[in-house]
């Protein structure tokens, strides 16, 4: 299935404190995380996220294991995050909450259309198509289920 969205560009080494600050974590109300997502990086980003594809620099999601970071990005309506590399806990968290990640070094132009197809293994921006490494079969199964909770619910 092909998906697409306008690019929102962020830099390298974005840590999960910058995605959602510690001061907003102690709640079960996910809308608080959506409201404050990326606040400490750039408060103007949040309104741009619905339907977008975040195109980040290397090592996106480093630092704290807080899963609220992946949840906030997903619930803000982001279609996928593209980066040359992801921190590994964030990588697992994103797939586990059903947020697609694409490992690819894309040059980001703000607002340019990013199109991708995970099952066919490509991502395209500004007329250039890049092939991407597929996720492991387990991660593909988790992502197709919609996340790890749904994966386990289907197994039972």
């Amino acid at each position: 299935m092909t998906s697409k969205g306008p690019a929102v560009c962020v830099g390298p080494d974005i840590d999960t404190d910058l995605v959602i600050a510690g001061r907003y974590l102690r709640t079960k109300d996910h809308s608080i995380w959506v409201e404050h997502v990326f606040e400490d990086l750039d408060p103007s980003l949040a309104p741009l996220l619905e339907g977008s594809v975040i195109v980040a620099g290397k090592n996106f999601g480093c630092g704290s294991s807080r899963e609220q970071a992946a949840v906030a990005i997903r619930e803000a309506g982001v279609v996928a995050v593209v980066a040359p590399s992801f921190a590994r806990i964030f990588f697992r968290n994103a797939i586990n909450v059903g947020l697609p990640l694409i490992e690819c070094d894309l040059t980001c132009t703000e607002g340019c259309l990013v199109t991708f197809d995970l099952s066919e293994g490509w991502v395209e921006a500004e007329g250039k198509r890049h092939s991407i490494h597929p996720l492991s079969p387990r991660m593909q199964a988790i992502l197709s289920a919609g996340g790890l909770v749904e994966y386990w619910r289907n197994q039972r």
Binding site: D15, A21, R26, D40, K58, R66, S85, N93
Partner: protein, 403 residues
């Protein structure tokens, strides 16, 4: 011929394996989302609860009624499920797991990025997220991609005032914040022999700051003796010749006191280069440097003097605090003007017990100096215990003297 990670996980680098976990733990922060995911999975039965722990450390005691309500629900669940439960005041999850719980060769997962700390015992210990942990509560196992390993060869002995934290900042700065992403670090070489368990815990603790999945030491006589004192009889692990994806060599005698400057852990400077920078707070504690040996070293330097800046000391665990009381270290700290916090994470994550104001500057013995982490608009410098003590006495960043 395999690396320690390959031996423990039972696969070659790059392979995906399913492994039973020997220990799995959450804290009051990540426990909330774990419990939420667990309820959504909808199972009634947890896996073998003797392997599961919940430890309250992030906001202890609760800072407001919202946190208290979340903690109340978690506490009731933990008690009802018969998993190991460690309440407010017992200490930091990684520290408690290091006090005779985690053993060489085990597979350990913690719902906290600094779960890599426990690789100091020759265990494969790594951080996972909350939903992963809920899956582990269900099945008692999880999948791993067996990591490639970076070998960090250590030689020589510390010279002057340098200590394990300075060595940790050295390798983090050399590898960079993503230099070991998806990989494991193995600390090897003659330099390891002179490192105490506390030193090794510091070195493994910082491994995630290079993106590493785990940081490991082979269990040796130091490990065996440490665990024997904690009532656990274990055997040392014998390294095999193996091939590393990358190797790094560090001579301990060349390490000097360092600080990581805002807002990156991999951006370090010798203390002497920024000596004189005025401070608003010094913070000693955390899963990096809140152990008894840290408190004792800090107390040795400040004993009989007065700190010149507000100084918050948070013991990593109740056991650490009890030892500091028994030996008089705690009263030396109080007499010198330090404020003592409840064992736990303290202000490290910016929730309570020493959060900074806008424009304030803190020298901290923790492991992260990310933007706004300990307070919006504040600056965090990361350094060793000796640097923290020397700086607390002067009220500005100060190079420690040889102790």
């Amino acid at each position: 011929m395999a690396t320690l990670s390959e031996r423990i996980l039972g696969g070659n680098a790059g392979e995906y394996v399913d492994r039973k976990v020997d220990r799995a733990y959450v804290h009051d922060g990540t426990g909330v989302l774990t419990l939420e995911a667990w309820k959504r999975i909808g199972s009634e039965r947890l896996t073998d609860t003797t392997r599961l722990s919940m430890l309250f450390d992030h906001i202890v005691p609760a800072n407001n009624s919202t946190t208290a309500t979340l903690q109340h629900e978690l506490r009731e669940f933990a008690r009802g499920s018969f998993m190991h439960f460690s309440d407010v005041g017992c200490g930091i999850c990684h520290q408690i797991m290091s006090e005779g719980v985690v053993l060489p060769g085990e597979v350990v997962v913690g719902a906290d990025s600094h779960s890599c700390t426990l690789g100091a015992f020759g265990a494969f210990s790594t951080g996972v997220g909350a939903t992963d942990m809920a899956g582990i509560w269900l099945t008692g196992e999880t999948w791993f991609r067996v990591p490639e390993t970076i070998g960090i060869h250590l030689s020589g002995k510390f010279f002057g005032a340098a200590e394990a934290k300075d060595l940790a900042l050295t390798y983090v700065s050399r590898l960079g914040m993503d230099g070991a992403t998806y990989k494991a670090l193995e600390f090897i070489g003659d330099g390891v022999l002179g490192l105490s368990m506390d030193d090794r815990l510091v070195l493994c603790n910082l491994s995630v700051e290079t993106g590493a999945k785990a940081g490991l030491f082979y269990a040796d006589d130091v490990t065996v003796q440490y665990l024997a004192r904690a009532g656990q009889m274990v055997q040392p692990q014998v390294p095999e010749p193996c091939s590393y994806a990358q190797e790094l060599t560090i001579d301990l005698s060349e390490i000097v006191p360092l600080v990581a400057v805002p807002h990156r852990v991999d951006t370090v400077k010798p203390v002497r280069e920024i000596a004189g920078l005025p401070l608003d707070q010094v913070f000693v504690g955390t899963c990096t440097n809140g152990r008894y040996s840290d408190l004792a070293r800090f107390a040795r330097i400040v004993k009989g003097k007065s700190v010149a800046v507000r100084t918050i000391v948070v013991p990593a665990s109740k056991a650490v605090m009890a030892e500091a009381i028994r030996t008089g270290v705690l009263s030396d700290l109080v007499d010198a003007g330090c404020t003592i916090g409840t064992p736990g994470c303290g202000p490290c994550l910016g929730a309570h017990m020493g959060v900074l104001g806008e424009g304030e500057v803190c020298l901290s013995t923790a492991n992260r100096n990310f933007k706004n982490r300990m307070g919006v608009g504040a600056a965090i410098y990361l350094g060793s215990v000796a640097t923290a003590a020397a700086s607390a006495l002067e009220g500005e960043i100060t190079e420690p003297e040889v102790n």
